[in-house]
């Protein structure tokens, strides 16, 4: 019983790890070259933008909120960068402007949510429409990027070379850097802990002196920043901007967070879990690609089922915790 007590809060996280391991073993046993380092590294590279978006979503969900604008903001940033470069701006300026946009966009959503007590899902829904439309307003179609800096990120200079010809793509490095940044924010700053506190029990947090409003606005600002950063990485990955890309990506991001063991009601969760969640989604994609015969729609069904399983698991864990408190 004592063993059980200690472990309950880690059950979802362990389940995620188990799912990841299971998928990996399935891959290893089915396909000969699945175990190569290249496949593993690409898991990071190909899902970097989803991963970064999921990091932002983790903060929002930890606080008990939700952000539906992720996919649209990514699409908007990508077309913004592409058209800025097209107009002759240098990459540094273009990326800074787009990150700044993400920050302002997130902050304004945060303000609407906090000051007027509007439901987050509605505000970010409007944000989703808004950013999507704005993207089309800038440039209605896909726009390729010719700038050497962008080409280099997939070329020779920026990726980190590993042994036996495998190299870590630049996007993967960005993902890992963003993850480290997020870990520092979540675990080493007062703000990060306040996010957990608000999600766990907003009333208590307030009585404990946490400034709810400032923290909430900051959370959506941070999420806006990570969405924009995901947009930058997406642009690097695609080498083009497209206002109609990433439709529904917010759902994948939320799914990754949930599968990663973060409680959708807030307060409990781990960025490490989100990393695992993103990798699980990536593995499913890879497996289906490897298989060749299976169609991509299986991805959605499997993700849906996994989300459901994890939500039910969370419910169970919450109930177990409550029961234990009552019985003691």
């Amino acid at each position: 019983m004592k063993f059980l007590k200690i472990q309950t809060r880690y059950i979802p996280l362990m389940a995620t790890a188990a799912v990841f391991a299971l998928l990996y073993i399935i891959g290893l046993s089915s396909f000969s070259n699945f175990g190569s380092l290249g496949v593993f590294v690409n898991l990071f590279g190909d899902n970097a933008f989803l991963g970064i978006a999921a990091i932002g979503a983790t903060f929002v969900i930890l606080s008990g909120g939700i952000d539906l604008s992720v996919g649209s903001v990514i699409a908007f940033t990508s077309i913004l960068i592409a058209s800025l470069l097209d107009k002759g701006f240098d990459p540094g300026t273009a990326i800074s402007i787009s990150l700044l946009f993400g920050i302002c966009f997130g902050a304004s959503m945060g303000c609407l949510i906090h000051f007027f007590e509007l439901p987050p899902f509605l505000v970010t829904l409007a944000g989703m429409f808004f950013a999507r439309g704005l993207g089309f307003l800038i440039h209605p179609q896909s726009l390729g990027i010719k700038h050497p800096f962008f080409l280099n990120t997939v070329g020779d200079s920026l990726p980190v070379k590993l042994s036996n010809g495998v190299e870590i793509p630049f996007t993967a490095s960005c993902f890992i850097a963003a993850l480290i940044l997020a870990l520092i924010i979540a675990h080493m700053t007062g703000f990060g802990r306040n996010v957990y506190a608000i999600g766990g029990n907003e009333q208590a947090a307030k009585l404990m002196g946490v400034r709810i409003g400032a923290t909430k606005i900051m959370i959506y600002t941070l999420a806006g920043f990570f969405s924009a950063l995901a947009g930058v990485v997406f642009t690097l990955y695609m080498q083009s901007g497209n206002p109609s890309s990433c439709v529904g990506l917010e759902l994948d991001a939320i799914a990754a967070v949930v599968i990663g063991g973060t409680l959708l009601s807030g307060g409990v969760g781990y960025l490490a879990g989100t990393l695992l969640g993103v990798l699980v989604l990536g593995l499913i994609q890879t497996l289906i690609t490897f298989h060749g015969d299976l169609n991509t729609w299986w991805t959605k069904i499997v993700i849906g089922v996994l989300v459901l399983v994890f939500i039910l698991l969370q419910n169970l864990v919450t109930k177990m915790t409550k029961k234990r408190i009552k019985s003691t």
Partner: protein
């Protein structure tokens, strides 16, 4: 009493909420090294006073002098900075964070701007050491029992070098052993020169721990007494607004009614873990039964249990001789039981619906969605009760939230009377209602009891209970401690039983 320097001195505190004067010029003082109990029934103004001292509310008038300085905290944070910390009834910590984090949240020790986790743990261990608590601070708060959580909350409160500790009903979810432990701790803290304000409604506990007792009633101060010189009976009397002389001199003005009704409900050993100790009870048709006891004695809990809101988890219950299981209000309603609960706004009115809709609701719920009462029937019903109960409204189509409290209460009575209940439980039916409405309600109830409806009446106005009831069940500390019936019922008898 010698003129000691008071740690906290609140003078002439006034606080008005829209429509209610919550505090009308209350004085309250606490000296260093004492445990001061703050007592009073619902609506006495205890929590308002505490919330003003801790910065949750702002006072309208008056002055608070703390440690020799006049203060006016605008938030809990400011109050804490002055040295006043509070531990609330419900543990107000974050269950899914570690103990250490809960103690240090918002004031974590930092290195180079980043949280120093070593520092957090060290500080938490030190804070707990003061309470002689040696636990693993890296575990989640929810890992520990409520009692330990309560102590952790106190540790957090003391962590910031506070001089005044306010405990708002800290013992309501603790068992006896845990209470004893908590009190040991409080005595130790008192020895260290801390001022402690202790709010509770458990009488035994008040005498166990406090040096002085301040009693509030209806937003005013009844008085401050030394615990050792305040007999229990007198305290109970003062809390319900009677001084000892008054109680003795009160004549019995009641006539004994003949209760010849058949047995309606009989229960044995029904109770609910953590809420109510098992009890036996019996209710006859046409009988008016009072539940007497102080706040927290279990009087409302009994009604909630019988109505299936918090169903009993032991014993058995029969209605009209047949074994019945009341596991939800729906089942209670089916068995002819009705109830208006204490908190009208939360459990009673559906604020955005009209008076008519509120009145037909229970009847319609019992009939099911498809046996619909026509608009005509609904209006007839609503108009009948508006007239019978004297609900002051232009018509039945007004939203119920626009009515005054008394009229809302009448509309709720109408909701239940419409289904012609056989047992009607009224929890504080007359709170916040003017005298006229009160009399009207009492009259209607009397008439219905003549016709065989049983009535279970709960009120903190013990005088009301003793005046109106045929039989009184007395509760204390979540336990039924006795029954008084017929001619033996008097305010004094009830109070004696409670104070014993």
């Amino acid at each position: 009493m010698g003129k000691t320097v008071e740690l906290l001195e609140a003078k002439g505190i006034v606080k008005t909420f829209p429509g209610v004067k919550a505090l009308s010029g209350v004085d309250f003082s606490v000296s260093a090294g004492e445990v001061h109990a703050l007592m009073g029934e619902n609506g006495a103004g205890k929590s308002t006073l505490v919330k003003i001292i801790t910065g949750v509310y702002r006072k309208d008038a008056g002055e608070i002098i703390f440690n020799g300085k006049s203060i006016s905290p605008g938030s809990t944070l400011e109050a804490e900075q002055c040295g006043i910390s509070t531990v609330y009834q419900e543990v107000n910590l974050v269950p899914e964070l570690s103990v250490a984090e809960n103690i240090c949240l918002g004031r974590q020790p930092k290195k180079l701007g980043f949280i120093s986790w070593g520092g957090v743990r060290k500080r938490a261990v030190e804070a707990l050491k003061r309470l002689e608590l040696d636990i693993d601070v890296s575990k989640n708060l929810s890992y520990y029992s409520i009692a330990i959580q309560q102590l952790i909350a106190i540790a957090r409160a003391l962590d910031i070098d506070s001089k005044l500790l306010i405990l708002d009903e800290p013992t309501s979810s603790l068992d006896e052993k845990e209470v004893a432990e908590l009190f040991k701790m409080l005595k130790k803290l008192r020895g260290q020169g801390l001022g402690i304000v202790f709010i509770t409604h458990f009488l035994d506990q008040v005498y166990q721990i406090s040096d002085r007792i301040t009693i509030l009633r209806d937003g005013g101060k009844v008085g401050t007494f030394e615990a050792a010189r305040l007999p229990r009976l007198e305290m109970v009397g003062r809390m319900i607004g009677k001084d000892p002389e008054q109680v003795k001199s009160m004549e019995k003005k009641r006539e004994i009614r003949k209760v010849a009704g058949k047995e309606f409900l009989k229960a044995e050993g029904i109770g609910r873990k953590g809420m109510l100790f098992p009890m036996a009870l019996e209710i006859r048709e046409g009988e008016i039964i009072g539940l007497a006891g102080l706040l927290g004695s279990g009087r409302s809990e009994t009604a909630r249990m019988l109505f299936g809101v918090d169903p009993s988890d032991s014993g058995k219950l029969s209605i009209g001789g047949a074994d019945t299981d009341i596991s939800s209000p729906k089942k209670a309603v089916k068995n002819g039981i009705a109830m208006t609960a204490e908190d009208r706004k939360v459990t009673g009115i559906i604020s955005d619906l009209t008076i008519r809709e509120n009145i037909v609701l229970a009847l319609q719920a019992r009939a099911g969605a498809f046996r619909t009462y026509t608009l005509k029937e609904q209006y007839a019903l609503a108009d009948k009760f508006i007239k019978a109960l004297g609900i002051k409204t232009p018509d039945a189509d007004q939203l119920i939230k626009n009515l005054s409290g008394g009229n809302q209460q009448k509309a709720l009575l109408a909701r239940w009377l419409a289904m012609e209940p056989r047992l009607f439980m009224l929890d504080e039916p007359t709170r916040g209602i003017d005298v006229g409405a009160k009399a009207e309600i009492e009259k209607v109830m009397d008439e219905l009891c003549e016709k065989g409806m049983a009535l279970l009446f709960i009120s903190s106005e013990m005088e009301e209970v003793s005046r109106n009831c045929d039989r009184v069940m007395v509760l204390r500390d979540r336990r039924k401690i006795g029954e008084i019936s017929g001619e033996d019922i008097s305010l004094q008898a009830i109070m004696k039983m409670i104070a014993e």
